[in-house]
Symmetry: D2
Subunit: 369 residues, 4 copies
């Protein structure tokens, strides 16, 4: 397992393809450090013995100890721990921990690539290729962004109907060695500080939309990929310094005739599974929310309770009622995620078909909760 | 285990102490049959092999097979099954199944009597007496009402401050063989069709209120106890008969110099545990709600979906949105109960102290959820 | 102006065409008396000098004093008074006063018939015929039901597309002396105790739907009209008698080859105005709601405040907060109606065109509020 | 009537008593210009002939034409116009227009000073003094901040019970020529760009709190008054410039042994009227909200509708439903204010007494709405 410093060292070596305010910037630019510190917390905390149970998992591919943020869930316990790890870390940074996109995208593609191979009956090798990518991802303890949201053009038209074919990221050309993609993904959190970018579809797709059923992973400074970043740092305080100074970035990602070799392509035309991939990432991500939203609620609750106490109104019935309502909202969200974890199975819910087995056996949260 | 017919036979033999509309009525009066049919469902369904897993438990006292409605929860699985049994049966009767007061009151007193004995350091024998009562309750497969809500008098005054000392049920006199109680309990569901009535406190109690810290069980037709019942039956339909015709009753219960022998008294003056008893019954009962409220939601959902389909509007976005909202409400409630079951322990939450071990080891739902 | 007894005498003379529970009943059947008492309040209160300002208007057609429930609004003041009269009377009967359908339908057709005549450029005489009907309605102080809601068949199809052409009330045949209509109107409040029934369309209509753009008035016991009534009476109380015993009825109305002479037809094919008529009745009726809903809120508020007081909790902050919330809801509804009255004009809002002059000059509430 | 430039010239001549970020700043510092531009709009728009009806009033004291923001409401029409003027101007600046504190504080004191004089039976001359202050305020077309919120100390203690007597602004000493006040007012909007500061109480007061029943007006750069300002400007945009660049300031105001001569004191010890003054300012200010909140809603609505249109989803039912909900919220707020204006009278509502005549005859919005 790696350290925050390893992570920074990797970023320092990357090519400059991130624009901020019209300028190409280094990944370790001062502006990005608050965000890097936030993600860095996932390395620092994993190194503490008291967090080992929550943050360290055993790879089902290599048997090695890995950071849970690179793990594919093998059982209910993994789902519970992911939720609890997320809540614990988000409490520490007082907001989004920013590493869940990687674990959620990874788990989605792990399952979808397996099913997509079945469709093509042996012609494709998506799942094995993804496992190779995943082993390196786990061993190097990498950070992945997950690029889902397309620019979408006219919202009333499906991808293949758009006047501008690049309104959704698509396969522009299929070559012997790989595919050429074009299009943009917008508001992609943490892409400017990620090692890898996982790309997957944003919506249900019809057979006509099959060129839009594409999933792949490329390094974040890859040839043919340009990022335009927005950086959300808090304004610094002169007095009453914050306990933790978190930061966030998101990128507008431009894929301009970007060549992706087959070993990094995990879906290329299987439109049904493209739609499932979109939903599955969203499902894993909502499961992350059941950890991070309660954590943010915890922070708000603590702040509200402190403010009430300082004003000596913490015992007043109307204040207690409001605090109780915050707790109720927090814990209903947590309970939904807890139940989704505990009822998790290697199954997905397909409208009209109910729950059906899906993927090679890794665990998926129950989609109702 | 007994049958619905056994239950009816027992009711038929009881003394007449139930007034309805100014008249003493038999317990098996036609007016009460819809309610008896509802509770009877808990016997009929328990007899079906397919429900054995959910509805039949093994007594931790005798090792015998018993109806789960007489069981004291021994582990998480028992809590999960109680929630799921409640949801299943409430779906069948399209509303309240009306046997949860018994199981919830039983579980509350089972724990509280154990702790109250500790306070008196061997002087009292509440817990052993309760276990004796419980063995018969399980073997005879009895129905218990649970009488909690007092008339309360002036809501701004505590029990001992009330101008009328009987505003809350209290110990009027302590005799060698037992206690004399007086006071009324109001809106006591199903008391008019119950075998036994469990009585317990309704609120937190101060040392001054110790005569109000009283819990006991008496037969529902006991000397010194009079019931005034309200009977809630649906009006019968000539056409489009209901699938199941449920009914409900509740009683105003008058304890008038009612003598209760010590072997049926489970708390008599331990005010701290009186307050915990009130909360614990409420906690178990809220856990029941996490089964019955989703069931009622399921019935409403099915009816709404059917109405939408008949009008051919079930695919309209605004209709689907409303159905989705019903599902969300249902399943958040279920998830809260599920999580409370899964995090259940032999512990209660005491404000200011956190979770502390409580009772002889039976399982209590997690009080946050 | 007439009295409640005049009203009852008229009902007593009507032909029997109302079925209840499979039997033809007299209009003055005991079952209908609670409803008749409710409507009768509008006669009794109008006769009291202290209500003259609110309840008595001057007919713009005859200059005579009339009950406001038969009046066409001539200015803002009339709109304000209608709202306040409704609130006052609904407070008295503790619910719906049941005479607003007549005034709302009357005001809608008064305007629509005027505009519809313009479309046909002199061929039709809807407005003059309606005024003749109205003079008698005012002088005889009659009660009108307003029949709007059709059975509607398949909700995804427009009237003319329905497999059953009678899914919406329609003109089946146009004769020299009048029209023949068929179809049903459902849930028509108070039709079983009304003198007259005003029929108007239920939705926007396309040119293809022109046979469904039909408005007319017939006596409630008219040839070709059958009613199947539902009667909603409270169960009588033995003790604690109600201050006022209100009742409600609604009818399923069947028009079976019902001939309506031209002098009672006020719209017959002008589809645009058919749609406006539907909206206009709804608009006047919502204005009525801004009187009756606050009144019902007032009753609930009084009851809640009384219950709080009896329990000595009326000064507790959480109780006061809840009472304040009821008041806020009540008075926001009243304020919306007040503003709609005060900004009322002889104009309607047509989507895409804004407010345009409409009708012969009577006042219409502002449709935003 | 004056111009925006006159306003700026006045500010330029004021003494430096405003601190920002630890430095004394000029009132016309670049940082304050966005805020000054916002308030300046009230001068610019008043000069336009098309706004004369809404923005120009006739002083009831001098008969001269004045900016409505310096006017005391003389009738319902004035209340309507104040609401509509506020909505119109807030639409123009896309947010708070920041001149309502002055008109609301002025109207509150105008009434309260009149009633307070009655209490002292001729000993005091508050109302005449206030009218003198008001004539200059109107003629010079001045800007006033209204300082209400105190630091409050321990929220469970009343003003006179606070360990620190300066937790609420109070009369420290009564001299022959005037009073000496001390204490702080916090979050006082626009005080750093105001000509005058109106000070009034923040809560109901008991006889023991009479030293806290104090209202007065001083120039914003007065001896003994220091301001610590927070300045809320939007960050400037390089591209897509805003149509109007609004800004806001608020001040922490420190009154340190500040001497106020009697002619500028409008309440000094009349505790009942101190409490009414607090409520009355809040009432007038809430009436302002019924103009500004709808305006902000209008801006949000326009933006939402534009965003929907650009994405071609403005005709989708779920989008229309959301837009309709925004409209409903906006117009309910407007209707509440409209009704409060239209039912306005020279009366205030005193809990337990109902509406009672108050003040010398100027109009007060109806407090329920």
């Amino acid at each position: 397992m790696k350290t925050k410093q390893d992570f920074i060292n990797r970023l320092a070596k990357m090519k400059r393809n991130v624009y901020y305010d019209g300028q190409l910037i280094d990944r370790t630019d001062e502006l990005q450090m608050d965000c890097i510190d936030t993600i860095g917390t996932t390395y620092d905390e994993a190194a503490k013995p008291e967090n080992a149970d929550l943050m360290i998992a055993t790879s089902h591919l290599t048997g090695e100890k890995i950071n849970r943020y690179t793990h594919v869930h093998q059982n209910k316990e993994d789902l519970h721990k992911k939720q609890d790890m997320t809540r614990m870390l988000c409490q520490k940074v007082g907001g989004c921990i920013q590493r869940c996109m990687g674990i959620d995208g990874t788990n989605a593609i792990y399952n979808v690539s397996y099913e997509a191979d079945k469709v093509k009956k042996g012609e494709t090798n998506y799942h094995e290729n993804f496992k190779k990518w995943l082993i390196r991802f786990q061993q190097e303890d990498l950070i992945a962004a997950c690029a889902q949201t397309d620019t979408k053009g006219d919202r009333m038209l499906r991808p293949a109907e758009q006047p501008n074919p690049g309104s959704y990221v698509r396969i522009k050309e299929r070559l012997k060695d790989g595919i050429v993609v074009e299009g943009c993904k917008v508001h992609i959190s943490e892409a400017s500080v990620a090692d890898e970018v996982i790309v997957l579809p944003t919506r249900a797709l019809r057979p006509e939309d099959k060129d839009y059923a594409v999933a792949f992973a490329v390094p974040a400074d890859y040839e043919g990929l340009t990022q335009v970043a927005t950086i959300h740092n808090f304004r610094p305080r002169e007095h009453y310094k914050r306990g933790f100074m978190g930061g966030y970035t998101d990128s507008y990602m431009i894929f301009d005739n970007c060549f992706v070799p087959w070993e990094r392509v995990f879906l290329a035309g299987e439109n049904d599974h493209g739609g499932i991939c979109a939903l599955l990432f969203a499902l894993f991500h909502r499961h992350s929310y059941s950890g991070c939203k309660p954590a943010i609620g915890d922070v708000i609750l603590g702040q509200a309770a402190l403010a009430a106490e300082v004003n000596n109104i913490h015992k007043e019935p109307h204040v207690r009622e409001k605090l109780a309502e915050i707790i109720m909202t927090i814990e209903l969200g947590y309970a939904a995620g807890y139940t989704a974890s505990d009822l998790g199975k290697p199954e997905v819910y397909i409208p009209g078909m109910g729950f059906v087995p899906y993927g090679p056996g890794s665990y998926i949260p129950h989609s109702i909760y």
